[in-house]
């Protein structure tokens, strides 16, 4: 089942950070779409709850050097 969560992201310093965060789409199986915005300091993630959990996504964001609030 597809779930959609909007994460507030702390630690984005430039538009390139959005691209970095969106790499979750490739790196984390189960993430179907990740769209980050430096302007809004947020990321919209659509994922398959059966394959990946919200906690795992938060951990992956942290591993990339950002904080999901």
């Amino acid at each position: 089942m597809t779930t959609r969560i909007v994460f507030k992201i702390a630690g984005m310093e430039c538009p390139n950070c959005a691209m970095t965060l969106e790499s979750l789409e490739d790196k984390l199986p189960g993430v179907q779409r990740a769209e980050a915005s430096y302007h809004k300091a947020q990321m919209v993630v659509e994922f398959d709850e059966d394959r990946v959990s919200e906690a795992q996504i938060r951990a992956a964001i942290q591993k990339l050097g950002y904080e999901a609030q």
Binding site: E13, C14, P15, N16, C17, A18, M19, T20, L21, E22, S23, D26, K27, E35, S37, Y38, H39, A41, L64, G65
Partner: protein, 363 residues
């Protein structure tokens, strides 16, 4: 020639720093494929944010070529853009006031960029150009899909830097537009981008872990430099708009050279028809005299004398009278000024607003 040299120096100094702040991420992305092939078991870190870490781990010779390809592509892209803007400038002659508005707009953008980099308020994030999601996705796929031998990725990403010009680059693009010549516009942008290249190369090639730690301080320094540049950019725009008060003018008053001051006392000569005539020597970095006292109520002829002048002072403008004149490098030109009321003040400047002066009708 002087403006091309100035463009190169601008690139080498401030341009390199500010562009690195904006485009550094793309350069890092272009190196990602190379690094991933060079270093096994590399943590899957972000291309942009942690750019120093992989650069340190990768064998350096393997990085030189993609960096050079990225920079070469960037130079090609901006040279073409410069030619295009020069051509556009040729097609649409911008009025001094339009140019002033453009300059002030660019200055405000730079100001916002500096305040964003200093994290003054989240609202300033909107001063950063964020590529649309589909372009970001395309960039990411291209960067991550590239293997080390593929130099197309850095070339492609180098070309894409035209989509994210930094503040100083945008000022230079406006200057290329005002050259009104495809050749001059291309030469100016090529010189500027070439000037930015050593900083890009040095940071990508030589950065260390210490550099990563100092990145924040370095970016603050860049922000302050951009902030100062922004103030001067807005100021030149204000001068170009014909304001008698400007920071540059105030500073040139403080540091006025004696030759210019003695020239202030020059009395206007009269022509046979009774018109006043005043000679202004157009120099590479000033107009002499720059404060002119003229008689009110009679026509005035400004005799502009150039002698091997190669700077933007050749592009003489009087915004209030909508006068624009591109002077020969060596020669003379006369600008007619209709009779003015007593007390009127008419500023003049170069088309960039960098050098200027004022005519005061108080005699």
């Amino acid at each position: 020639m002087v403006s091309i040299l100035l463009a190169f120096i601008t690139g080498l100094t401030t341009g390199g720093l500010s562009c690195l702040a904006v485009q550094g991420g793309l350069l890092a992305s272009s190196l990602a494929g190379q690094i991933e092939q060079s270093v096994q078991n590399l943590p899957a870190g972000p291309a942009g944010k942690k750019k120093h870490r992989p650069a340190q781990s990768a064998p350096r010779p393997a990085l030189a070529l993609p960096i050079l390809v990225f920079l070469a592509a960037k130079i090609v892209a901006y040279t073409l853009l410069g030619a295009l803007l020069g051509f556009a400038g040729q097609m649409f002659q911008l009025s001094p006031l339009t140019r002033a508005a453009l300059q002030i707009g660019i200055g405000i953008f730079m100001l916002g960029t500096a305040l964003r980099m200093l994290n003054v308020h989240p609202i300033f994030r909107y001063f950063a150009i964020e590529p649309p999601a589909f372009i970001r996705r395309r960039l990411r796929k291209t960067a991550s899909g590239a293997d080390g031998s593929n130099l197309l990725t850095p070339a492609f990403l180098g070309l894409l830097t035209v989509l994210i010009p930094c503040g100083v680059t945008q000022a230079m693009l406006a200057a290329a537009l005002s050259t009104a010549s495809p050749l001059s516009g291309a030469a100016m942008m090529a010189a500027f981008t070439l000037g930015t290249s050593p900083v890009f190369f040095a940071v990508a090639y030589f950065t260390t872990r210490l550099g990563a730690r100092l990145e924040k301080h370095f970016m603050r320094f860049v922000a302050v430099v951009i902030l100062i540049l922004a103030i001067f950019t807005v100021d030149t725009g204000v001068a170009l708009a014909g304001s008698p008060v400007s920071l540059t003018r105030a500073l040139s008053g403080i540091f006025a050279v004696p030759a210019a001051q003695t020239a202030l006392d020059q009395a206007p000569a009269q022509t046979a028809s009774g018109e006043d005539i005043i000679t202004i020597n157009v120099l590479n970095t000033a107009y002499s005299p720059d404060v002119i006292h003229a008689k009110a109520g009679v026509p005035l002829k400004l005799r502009l004398v150039t002698n091997d002048v190669r700077s933007c002072s050749r592009a003489f403008v009087i915004p209030a009278l909508d006068v624009q004149r591109l002077l020969d490098a060596t020669g003379e030109a006369v600008v007619d000024i209709p009779p003015q009321e007593k007390g009127a003040q008419i500023p003049f400047s170069c088309s960039m607003g960098m050098y200027g002066g004022i005519i005061i009708f108080d005699l």
